[in-house]
């Protein structure tokens, strides 16, 4: 057990955790930031996606020890003050059905648009490889990414 200082959503948290404890469970069970969801635990569905220094990562694969001195962003951050254009686009395109996997997809879109402000359909598909949704919202995710690229 070790003590870690984590930067999550511009806040500083101190947690006692095993070095191997995965970021997903640190967020959900130690920090009660439950917007980040569990889907598979093996990096196959990507619904646990969070941002580390702006890059989309699968929090179910990343040990807490590897997150020290990095900035972690979870779904609780973007809408905190005012709704983020990607969240806005998600609502305008009525993407969500059950909604359980959408936090990871919204964060993945923020990371994608940061690198590539106007992705093509093929680039969106590539960015969402292994991002699963059982409700089948894929067509609307594509539309929402394009809409967000245009400003929301």
């Amino acid at each position: 057990m070790a003590t870690y200082t984590l930067n999550v959503n511009d806040m500083v948290y101190t947690v006692d955790a095993e070095p191997a404890m995965l970021l997903l469970w640190v967020l959900r069970d130690l920090l009660n930031l439950t917007g980040t969801k569990f889907g598979c635990g093996i990096g196959a569905c990507s619904i646990c996606t969070v941002l580390m220094d702006g890059q989309a990562i699968q929090s179910c694969l990343l040990p807490v020890s590897a997150t020290v001195n990095h900035d972690i962003t979870t779904i609780e951050a973007p809408g905190r003050e005012s709704i983020h254009p990607v969240q806005e686009a998600w609502m305008k395109e009525s993407v969500s059905q059950c909604g359980y996997c959408q936090p990871g997809k919204i964060l993945n879109t923020i990371a994608l648009l940061d690198k590539n402000p106007h992705p093509s359909d093929a680039e969106i598909d590539e960015a969402f490889k292994d991002h699963l949704c059982r409700c089948g919202t894929y067509q609307r995710i594509r539309r929402a990414v394009h809409r967000a690229a245009e400003g929301g």
Binding site: W25, L30, F38, C40, S96, C98, Y100, D125, C135, G136
Partner: protein
Amino acid sequence: MATLTRRDFLKVSFTAAGALLITSYLDACAPSEATEVVPARTSTPIPEPVFKANLFIRIDKDGIVTLTIHRSEMGQGVRTSLAMILAEELEADWSKVRVEQSPANTAIGSQTTGGSGSIADHYSILREAGATARDMLILAAAQMWGVAPEECRAEQSTVIHAATNKKLSYGELVTAAKDVRLTKSPQLKDPKDFRFIGTSLPRIDDLEIVTGKAIYGSDVRLPGMLYAVMARCPVFGGKLINFEADKTRSTRSVRDVVQVSNGVAVIAENTWAAIQGRNALQVKWDEGTNTKYSSQSIRQELVDAMDKAIANESTQSLTTIDAIYETPYLAHAAMAPVSCVAHVRADGCDIWVGTQNPQDVQQFVQRVVKVPTEVHVTLLGGGFGRMLEVDYAMEAAEISQAIGVPVQVAWTRDDDIQHDFYRQPTYHWMRAGWDTDGNLGLWRHYIAGPGLNGIAYRAGREVLEEGLVSPYNISGRAVQALLVNIPLPTGPWRAVMSGPNALANECFFDEVATALKKDPYQFRMELLDENNELRSVLQLAAEKSNWDTPVTAGRGRGIACHNYHGTSVAMVAEISVENSAVRIHKVVCAINCGRVIHPDMVAQQMEGSIVFGLTSLLKSEITIENGRVQQSSFLDYPILQMNEMPEVEVYIVPNDREPTGTGEMGVPPIVPAVVNAIFALTGKRIRHTPIRPADLQ
């Protein structure tokens, strides 16, 4: 009891705080026991039959209208669309409408969310409830102003007297409404005046969802709550012999290890530690007699039952073709694995759970814990039928009772894939025959398969018969369902047996059309009765897909349709085949579900059903070996990905009859539409799911 109209089952009353409350009982039959749901200080002349309410509408003095939703939200939008129906007749200001999720309550009618029935079951009663409250508020205002109620109208939660330009908000009128007596039944709105019904309002939970604030079963956090994972026998029906937990107990943050009826629970301060503890556990199982089952042996049982049933079938001197269609076990694989929080105390139990079936959760948990149980329903991270079962709540309750603190039982993905209640495997024998003039005079569809053998959900032959009868007007039709009992757990899976039966019916119909050199669309239209709603969707899908013009070179087009619980859906799929793999380019979908409450949610359900059906056709199956499921993750039970998503167009047939459902209705037609398209392109007839690469080589 005198004959009561439905409206008589509305009951108007006031809470101690002075809010107007409307409750109702839905079922047409006279209920038997009295249930006092609110302090009844009613003074309305509306009869008060002894009733159980299944609908609670509250209007508070601040004007907030609250509808208690007793059905579960799993993405189908029920919390939004039910509130829209109420707001329509109530003439409510949408910004003042709220929904509250009802806990399990045996006094409020069925809370089971299944069969795509929530809109169909509540459309009329919600309209009547809304209209009753509206008319009472109008009458209250009219009496205060000393004018005739006919001179007043309601708009945006306000009653207006146009002649004097007087206005009072609903909140201001609630107290006065207590003393009004409605002398006539409220008039329902003319649909041409609808403001909400037929529009696509934002989903009521959307902001919470996109900001991560929406609470699903696994997001519930209680003071002092611990987290548990279970070790269960991998062979269905196996029993625990013993376990060795020293290493588990010394795993950091593990708090306890307890034996419960379904295996061994590892309880820890967080989910990760519980999983580590389980990894360290040594468990010895008595795997029992079910180890003899494999996919192969189960299939053989179905084949044997079918062979016996068809032994004496004749061709009746007609030209006949026969075919066998087959489907495997399927898991639900909702993105949220099942999860449940239980807090059992000496005098009571609270359950927080994403469930499609809160009342059964309450009943079954109470049997385990033997104390009064309250079930709080969270949002569901997908349901698809899995959350109709009660196993995971019973397990959580048992663990919490054993350790005496609140506990969340987390299911990992392998738990979810390996301990589901699966869609049952099916084996279909088809025969069609025609005379020398090409007139069909024989149609057989026999299905063999297990029934449903879950804890809360059990069904025999009747479940196999769902969707078994082909809709076409063919003389000499006969069907048979052969129940083969296999003791592996099965349960309702989106569209239940209509999926496999529509595959067999609609693909075999295509085979017959091919043999008779008929156009698959025209042949369907020829053999459907004039008044069959399938005609309307076939026509619209054919038109929107340009069925009568040649398809792009290198592509194939296929059509299929199905009616499920009163809703007709037809689909035209356009596909190509590259490197032995099918690519679905486009799906044109037409649906006839009567009056549409929320057109965009209809489209969402069709898009979702198409993805769900395509996953079963292109991607995944559950196989059994030695009595256990061989798959355990999204790697060996893959689901459709974004780059495989076809372009989907959804068209709605305008129809003002009472609404029917949409949640499952797109699953049955998509699979045969694609299979028929593959045949049109390649001449290869696929008669099983999922498609294997060898099928297209």
